[in-house]
């Protein structure tokens, strides 16, 4: 049975578990990871005959699929941290980011914040993630290494936040909350903002999304 809220011991288990998992897992250099993402994106851009936006969107989908596969494999272990509470997703998201990026994760992403529906202008629950330093955009020369005017649905650095949104969606589906999550990058370092920001919207599944 899915719990309404995480208790102290579950959170303690999550905190210990993430350190254990990180210490035992195989790691790689983040600049290498960032360079791989760039190399693949540029190849997709060539395949799509210069359509940078389509290249970025396609790679984002492929990355998110990969993240889903990881979650599927880890589901048995992390479902101990699932609850119906949307507020608990803050804890789960922090744990997931620690597992992917290790103890330095918050150099690149600030602590994700849940904003209840009554505190948002749209009346839709939201999850806000700010990106003080984007591991993907770092090192890029806007307009030279990537044509930012051609971006479409996703911005280049949205990968990680999109993967996180996918995790939160799978949790909502598992616990039986009827939400359809959608991510939107509202600020992007590559587009000239001082820091990135992504918002995950929790739209009720049975209702039409506000335009």
């Amino acid at each position: 049975m899915v719990q309404k809220k995480l208790n102290f011991f579950q959170k303690l288990l999550g905190k210990l578990g993430k350190h254990y998992y990180w210490s035992k897992s195989r790691k790689m250099n983040l600049w290498m990871l960032s360079s791989m993402a760039y190399g693949v994106t540029k190849k997709y851009e060539e395949i799509y005959e210069g359509d940078t936006g389509l290249a970025v969107d396609t790679f984002t989908n492929h990355f998110v699929n990969g993240a889903r596969a990881i979650m599927f494999e880890m589901q048995d272990r992390i479902k101990l941290l699932y609850s119906k509470s949307l507020k608990d997703l803050e804890f789960l998201a922090q744990t997931a980011l620690f597992v992917i990026l290790g103890p330095d994760w918050n150099k690149f992403l600030s602590e994700p914040t849940f904003i209840p529906a009554e505190k948002t202008a749209e009346g839709i629950p939201q999850f806000r993630i700010t990106i003080p330093a984007c591991a993907l955009c770092t090192g890029l020369r806007p307009g030279i290494d990537l044509d930012i005017t051609k971006l479409r649905k996703h911005t280049y650095g949205e990968l990680l936040a999109a993967a996180l949104a996918s995790l939160l969606q799978s949790v909502q589906d598992y616990v039986g909350n009827e939400y359809s999550l959608e991510i939107k990058e509202t600020k992007c370092i590559l587009l000239g903002d001082p820091q990135g920001e992504a918002i995950i919207y929790f739209y009720p599944k049975d209702k039409n999304k506000p335009k």
Binding site: G66, D104, A133
Partner: protein, 180 residues
């Protein structure tokens, strides 16, 4: 919004000092491989993977340079610096004088290929980890261009890949010397 800016964003050193989960690459690659294969066919896909490796090498050289010029040692430096895992083994197949001119690299712990049996590519004409040969070739030829090596040209080719159904990953490195 600035449309073109020659200043690089952020601090590369901060990213270079950080780590991420290797699993992220291993789990994203099947989709990437499938996409490139579908769009380009096996022959071009192999070239594309090598190109990706070269692009990665250009970015890596922005922050890191190999200390050694010996190809086997260069590969082990890369393994140590950028991935965790076992060292590669080099088998010298031919020599030019005393210097190795053909080396077969044996990789038992490929950072790119799937770890579990049954996750290999269905199309065996493409070597799953070909990007590594493009990457290595670019690094070795960077060393050539900076005149640090006795060899004057390096060519690398992945000849076996766990992700394509082979027992281990193998890369053939050919080194040319002078006017050879």
């Amino acid at each position: 919004m600035f449309l073109q800016n020659s200043t690089r964003i952020g601090n590369i050193q901060d990213v270079y000092k950080a780590q991420g989960l290797l699993m992220v690459v291993k789990y994203s690659l099947p989709d990437v491989m499938g996409f490139i294969l579908k769009k380009r066919g096996p022959e071009q896909a192999e070239k594309d993977l090598r190109d990706i490796g070269k692009t990665i090498a250009e970015r890596i050289l922005m922050v890191w340079k190999p200390k050694s010029t010996n190809p086997v040692e260069v590969l082990n430096e890369i393994k140590k610096k950028f991935f965790s895992g076992k060292k590669v083994r080099g088998e010298v197949l031919e020599r030019f004088g005393k210097a190795p001119s053909k080396i077969l690299i044996h990789e038992k712990d490929c950072p790119v290929c799937p770890e579990e049996k049954g996750e290999e590519l269905e199309v065996s004409q493409v070597h799953y980890c070909s990007a590594i040969s493009g990457f290595t070739e670019a690094l070795l030829n960077y060393l050539v261009s900076t005149k640090q090596t006795l060899y004057t040209k390096a060519s690398c080719k992945t000849v076996a890949s766990v992700g394509s159904g082979d027992k281990d990953c193998q890369m053939l490195i050919e080194l040319k010397y002078g006017g050879e």
